[in-house]
Amino acid sequence: MQVRTGVCGGARQPEASHPNRYRRRASPVRLHATGLRVSEVAAMVVFALLIINKAGGLIFNRTFAPGLQKLDSNDYLILAGTFHGIHAISRTISPAPPVQPLPGNRRPPTTGIESMESSHFRLTCFQTPTGVKFLLFTSPEQPNTDAVVRRCYEIYGEFVMKNPFYSLEMPVRVEKFDRALGAYLVRP
């Protein structure tokens, strides 16, 4: 499993040259950490999207590919809460050398885990400036997961945040969001 974390601010650079980015290679994980199985699914797919609010509660989850292992809603809540905790830890405890802040400025906050890879899936985490986290589970071959997760954020901004009947931090039950997300991520 590979875990990638990063530091806020500045343009993205190739990993090899970026001093604040590190890759750790552990023994390949055979266990399905997410319960997602790839047996009958095509190689390049988006499996699932989870949205976690800033308190660590799961506010949205949806799967997009057929043939995935079923998780019950309690497991999803545990997964969201656990990831929220690990993400928070990874922001403070990190082997990356600290960035020297400009005089008078605070140290830029680290972003925590950005992606996690195993032989079966890749988890891309995108955190918005307000602390909402988007977790995108894809197959390891799926390219441009950053762009995909950002597009999901845009759709969230359009149909959830602009919806007068949505109350912040609460579970997302917005039909137009579901429809737009389906149109974007479900392969016909």
Partner: protein, 251 residues
């Protein structure tokens, strides 16, 4: 020596400087600020009052409108107890817009017509107020929708059961672009705001209505947001229309 102290004490302390006193001074009441923003003189920015009335402004930002509309809905939602109450309030919010839109659109039509303001054409383009029911309905269906949303409404129908009821159909109302109704008030249609605009236009044109309401079209797969605006005209309007028809086409 005393003279020197009086001269140094002469300038009054700045109003917010209360470092050396225990009591916080009360600020003098601020001067009344007019709420209308007007750019400072010398700048070349134009206000809405400097623009030509006859030229419609180019496209308006949809997200900006969505933000305002969102706030409007949230406000009325918080103030009202039932779904019909919210719809009535949204309808009332749209009504004054309709009254003004009739005048504005007719003025623009007249200015754009080749004959200018004196044009004596019969239908629409001259800037004359619609006097027949069908003219009014086409004005709402075409001109009003184009003026507000940049396109025509999708259909104009007459009710088969009641002859004073007409329906204007919009497959995807612009105002509902970002609005999703929660399940517990699925009857609510926020296009009631547009219904209010239509009601304002009808009333201002002299066609009194018993109310214009917005309803969801049910069982629609292709257009999940399809909305029907139901216009119910008053009896006297229908009687007048009958009389005009009998009298030979509005003579």
């Amino acid at each position: 020596m005393p003279a020197a102290t009086t001269t140094t004490a002469a300038p009054p302390p700045p109003p917010l400087d209360f470092k050396n006193s225990d009591t916080i001074p009360v600020l003098p009441p601020s001067k009344h600020q007019p709420s209308l923003r007007y750019p400072s003189s010398g700048s070349h920015r134009k206000t809405i009052y400097d623009r030509s009335l006859s030229r419609p402004p180019s496209a308006t930002s949809l997200p900006a409108f969505a933000y305002l509309f969102n706030t409007l809905i949230t406000y009325h939602h918080a103030k009202s107890g039932s779904v019909s109450d919210i719809e009535t309030r949204l309808n009332r919010a749209g009504y004054p817009i309709g009254v003004k839109m009739l005048d504005l659109l007719l003025y623009r039509q007249a200015a754009a017509a080749p004959g200018g303001f004196g044009g004596a054409g019969k239908s629409g383009a001259s800037g004359a107020r619609p006097t027949r029911l069908l003219e009014l309905l086409q004005f709402v269906h075409g001109t009003l929708w184009r003026g507000l949303f940049g396109r025509q409404a999708d259909a104009l129908e007459q009710s088969t059961t009641k002859k004073n009821e007409y329906m204007i159909v919009d497959n995807e109302p612009v105002v509902n672009t970002y609005v999703t109704i929660p399940r517990e008030m699925s009857q609510l249609n926020c296009a009631a705001f547009v219904a209010g605009v239509v009601e304002g236009v009808c009333d201002a044109a002299g066609f009194g209505t018993e109310g214009v309401s917005a309803h969801w079209a049910e069982g629609e797969e292709m257009w999940p947001g399809k909305t029907i605006f139901l216009l119910r005209f008053r009896e006297e309007v229908m009687e007048r229309e009958e009389g005009l028809k009998a009298g030979g086409g509005g003579g």
